[in-house]
């Protein structure tokens, strides 16, 4: 039976090749679009459960006083606290965008232990006032080497900020963002004290690492209670919820991508269903002959569904094989937009399941017709 299914699937070489190509492109598109969605959620997925983010309750654009640091540290159950803000500088040209953060590096690097830095680089980074650290992919993108001077033109914090690259971090996992850029919050703040003291000694957010995961919601509530009725009330949430807040701003785009990914599958389903319907119509006599030999409806259903699934899997296989070089191209060409572009195992599995499902669904109508075909009617088509 498998031999017959396989040979039937290759019977019309051109038709099968075109359908396989269509299927391959559909699966490739689906896989890439799913990976785009995953990339969108990469920050959320990369968030650790033991990290709490505290920001101004009104909006992220309003800052919090640095003075909150000691009060947060004093709350039982908190292991470490770091702070920082979004710097938003321009490197040479605006098109060279990458995420830049001025942070309290000592605790920050302890909290974000997925950023792996060689000990001697870490030491140099923490020692030097205007030192900075870049992710591996970011350093690769601009060809930076340790010791290079990187000048950022401030947009939120005016002026040219000269930084020395003292460390390059690598991600602990494949999904870790390696395109971030960090430097000392103190370096910016010291300058602000001199130039614009009104905005000095402020932070965009505090990030706290808790000792006990189960206590995280309680600690978050305690932090917010501490600053209730103050001039700058706080909102503390898990890092995941915090990241999710950013993603939800672009929810419509993500939804559109998801819809498009499924539309692609529906289109190829129609194409394959048409191919299988044509094939089954052409072979009605053959099915009648098989029935004459004693084959039953269920055997014909197996033959047709098997052929349909075989074609779908051939296309799926080609699509999956193409997904890795395509993802590599995306990573290289669109690295600015997708800092993490990793084809997950779930996506691969989903592509495979969808290929099988498309094959099965496309076979339903022709298989049903073939199973119901009266033999005499099928044979009357002969001669």
């Amino acid at each position: 039976m498998f031999k017959l299914i396989w040979r039937n699937s290759l019977r019309h070489r051109l038709r099968t090749t075109l359908t396989v190509l269509g299927m391959a492109i559909a699966i490739l598109s689906f896989g890439l679009l799913r990976t785009v969605v995953d990339a969108w959620y990469a920050g959320v997925e990369g968030a650790a459960a033991d990290r709490l983010v505290t920001r101004n309750a009104i909006s992220l654009i309003f800052r919090l006083p640095l003075a909150y640091l000691n009060k947060i540290k004093a709350i039982p159950g908190i292991k470490r606290v770091a702070y920082g803000y979004w710097f938003g500088g321009v490197y040479i040209d605006e098109k060279n965008f990458f995420p830049q953060f001025a942070v309290e590096l000592h605790n920050y690097l302890d909290i974000y232990n997925e950023f792996i830095i060689p000990p001697e680089q870490r030491q140099a980074l923490l020692k030097e006032r205007n030192a900075c650290v870049a992710g591996r992919k970011l350093a690769q993108r601009f060809g930076w080497r340790l010791g290079d001077i990187i000048t950022l033109r401030g947009t939120i914090f005016p002026g040219n900020w000269e930084l020395v690259l003292r460390a390059i971090y690598t991600g602990a996992e494949e999904t870790t963002d390696e395109t971030r850029f960090f430097f000392h919050w103190d370096y910016v703040n010291e300058s602000l004290i001199k130039t614009t003291p009104a905005i000095a000694n402020q932070v965009g957010w505090f990030i706290s690492q808790v000792e006990d995961l189960d206590q995280a919601p309680l600690i978050a509530a305690q932090i917010d209670d501490t600053f209730r009725n103050s001039l700058a009330e706080t909102l503390t949430e898990s890092e995941k919820a915090f990241q999710m807040g950013f993603v939800s701003m672009t929810k419509a785009i993500v939804l559109a991508i998801q819809v498009v990914s499924y539309v692609v599958i529906v289109i190829i389903l129609i194409v394959l269903a048409n191919t299988m319907a044509m094939t089954a119509r052409e072979r009605q006599e053959e099915y009648a002959v098989l029935k004459t030999l004693g084959f039953q409806g269920r055997h014909l259903v197996t033959l047709i569904a098997g052929e349909s699934v075989a074609i779908a899997l051939m296309g799926g296989g080609v699509g999956l094989a193409a997904i890795f070089p395509a993802a590599h191209y995306f990573r290289t060409a669109l690295g600015n937009y997708f800092r993490v572009f990793h084809v997950s195992q779930e996506t691969l599995l989903l592509c495979l399941v969808i290929a099988v499902l498309v094959g099965l669904v496309a076979a339903i109508f022709p298989a049903w017709r073939a199973a119901r075909l009266p033999i005499a009617e099928g044979l009357r088509r002969i001669g």
């Binding site: 039976m1 004693g294 005499a376």
Partner: protein
């Protein structure tokens, strides 16, 4: 010949009626047909186009169902069998030979002959042995690895005959088996059918337009407008 020494009746057809519907119109094809066929007979069914001979053959082979009447084969009323029961019955008891051979083009001669055995529980090795033996019987074992497109019409029909006999059926139903063949090939196929009938005792029911083919049969029945020329079940 005395009645006691005759072989038993294998096919008993009594008052068989069949019609087809074309839109709102009902077209009668067979009307009150009565026919008995004894085991080991070689019966030729002749008649003009549209006389209902192929329909009668299809009914006997269990690939169509009558509207009325009874059709008993080896004591089983096949008109009462369900579709799946009928499929199993066909597989076990009937070998069908078509005018245009109807081999599966993507399978070799051997694989085509092996096809009906795929429904049996025989292991692959035995299936292959059976198929090879059937091809040897029809004298085409040397072409077992050829695809239908690589065979002549006569050779393809031999493969089709091998496919029809591979399950060792009681009845061989042949619908104009020489209709698409040249004279020489037609003679070879008829020779083969005669051998199957005489040497292996197969009951053969053959629809044909060709009087020379009909001459090979031990009995001839004419159908005209769905009526057998003589409705004498005891024949």
């Amino acid at each position: 010949m005395a009645e006691e020494s005759l072989p038993p009746v294998l096919v008993e057809i009594n008052d068989l009626t069949k019609s087809y519907r074309r839109g709102l119109q009902i077209i009668p094809v067979l009307q009150h047909v009565c026919l008995n066929i004894r085991a080991g007979e070689f019966l030729a069914l002749m008649g003009p186009s549209g006389s209902g001979k192929t329909t009668l053959l299809n009914l006997i082979a269990g690939i169509d169902q009558p509207d009325a009447g009874t059709l008993r084969i080896a004591g089983v009323d096949i008109s009462r069998l369900s579709e799946s029961e009928l499929a199993i019955w066909r597989h076990r008891h009937v070998g069908f030979i078509f005018q245009f051979y109807n081999l599966v083009p993507v399978l070799t001669a051997l694989e085509n002959v092996e096809l009906p055995l795929m429904l049996s529980e025989l292991p692959r090795r035995e299936r292959r042995l059976h198929a090879e033996l059937a091809l040897q019987l029809v004298g085409i074992a040397d072409r077992m690895d050829h695809y239908p497109r690589q065979l002549s019409g006569g050779q393809q029909q031999r493969v089709a005959i091998a496919r029809a006999i591979v399950t060792d059926p009681v009845i061989i139903a042949a619908d104009e088996p020489t209709g698409d063949l040249d004279k020489v090939s037609a003679q070879e196929v008829l020779e083969l059918l005669t051998r199957l009938n005489q040497e292996m005792g197969k009951t053969i029911i053959m629809v044909t337009h060709d009087p020379r083919a009909a001459e090979r049969a031990s009995r001839l029945q004419h159908l005209d407008k769905g009526v057998l020329n003589a409705c004498t079940p005891g024949m």
